[in-house]
């Protein structure tokens, strides 16, 4: 035992560092090149943490509850949870009705809306952990493949689109929200009936906006027009509300228009979301999205 201990530290630390660096760089390239091979390894390792994170989330929620109420906390909490899910469902209904009444004539004629997202089957989930690097808007939910969650399922919260499932473990899944800089969603501007790309942008987010690009120059887009997910999208289900347009301007290359978009979802207060268990099965033509 002592020999092994000594032997281990006879290697010069700098060679150990060099060796590990080479291994890691190779690993980065391999995990980029062979994503399908590494994904299960990764999710299996990460699913160890999910129950612990969930436990902490439950405990901290519970403690928050205790500090608010002294009597029968559990009962109130349960009631609160059930009311909350009802509330989310009602919010969707309300929003849908609002959208419909507001633009009934044009919408029905232009798009022949066959489905609205309240008809999709959803699973409720709680956010148990979030990315902490400060640059990404990625979070973990407490539902995984055991609950029927698959990659690329859309995530909504009451009034609109939150993001998309990027990784699924047995007991957790990772969601990239639409305000993340790596997120690109193809959308449709209602009323103007034009296509666009909605991208996250940390810099604009400080003022509460994300970015809309590639609006055709011919578009008659105005402020406060609604943007919904496009039916052309390969991963996002159609007609999910994303947000409202503002600050329309011609892009620097003069070939299209840019705008800002205020998301309908308040990402700072998010803690319960709904995962749509219907997957989009469109031909893969718009591969711009991630």
């Amino acid at each position: 035992m002592e020999n092994r201990y000594k032997y281990k530290f006879n290697i010069e630390p700098k060679y150990l560092l060099l060796f590990s660096t080479v291994i890691l760089v190779v690993l980065i390239f391999l995990s980029y090149r062979f994503q399908d091979f590494f994904r299960p390894l990764k999710t299996r390792a990460a699913s160890m943490f999910a129950p612990m994170q969930k436990g902490i989330a439950v405990v901290s929620d519970y403690l928050e509850g205790v500090s608010d109420n002294f009597e029968d906390v559990e009962k109130l909490q349960k009631e609160y949870d059930s009311l909350k899910s009802d509330y989310e469902a009602l919010k969707i209904k309300y929003n849908e009705i609002l959208t419909d009444s507001y633009e009934y004539e044009e919408l029905r004629a232009l798009f022949k809306l066959s489905q609205t997202y309240s008809e999709y089957e959803t699973v409720g989930a709680n956010i148990i952990a979030s990315d902490t690097t400060g640059y990404n808007s990625v979070f973990t939910l407490d539902k995984g493949s055991d609950d029927g969650i698959k990659r690329d399922m859309n995530v909504i919260a009451g009034s609109g689109l939150v993001g998309i499932v990027t990784e699924v473990g047995s007991n957790y899944c990772v969601v990239r929200s639409i305000i993340d800089d790596n997120s690109n969603v193809s959308g449709t501007i209602l009323k103007a009936a034009d296509s666009c790309i909605v991208s996250g942008n940390l810099k604009l987010l400080e003022e509460g906006y994300i970015e809309v690009t590639e609006i055709p120059l011919s578009s008659e887009v105005r402020n406060n027009y609604q943007v919904v997910t496009s039916s052309l999208s390969s991963k996002y289900l159609p007609d999910i509300l994303i947000g409202y347009i503002s600050n329309v301007s011609v892009s620097s290359d003069g070939l299209s228009m840019n705008a800002r978009l205020t998301p309908v979802v308040d990402f700072s207060k998010l803690d319960t979301v709904l995962i749509i268990t219907t997957l989009k099965t469109a031909p893969e033509e718009t591969d711009k999205e991630q």
């Binding site: 630390p13 590990s20 390792a45 943490f49 901290s60 952990a129 902490t132 400060g134």
Partner: protein, 168 residues
Amino acid sequence: MLDFVIYAVELLICFLLQSTVMTKLEIANTVPDLIVIVAVAAGYQRGKVHGMFIGLLGGLILDFTFGSLIGVYALVYMFIGYCSGFLTKYYIKYDTLLPAALTAVSEFAFTLYGYVVNMLVNGRFDILYYMRRVMFPKVFYTLVVGVILYKLLDLVYVSVLMPVKEEV
């Protein structure tokens, strides 16, 4: 071996707190980086090899849970832990100044690296903006939390690991 186990447990606790409780205690949209504090402590208290492996482990945990590629954060934390090991000869019981400075510098290096792998690759060139928005708040918050957390880690080190080290 015991020291690695203890640092790993500290790392696990810190990662869990960081990704859950700390995200609810956000200040200026940033969360303190507890992993870097453990990596720095391991390097500063025990040397390059310890710092390196604890940093590596912490980075791998981040890569597995939130990263898209394996090894990206492991790489930077590994170097942070290793570099902290250069100061291990100046280790003094319950000293706060040097580890605090080390934490601040390391966290700045980490956020800078984070800017490169997350933002620069997407063509976001305005580094000064991201310094103001992400880097400085995060460094400052980590420093404040780090001073308190390091005290605890040092307490564990002095009371549990130091006696073991002297026996060997």
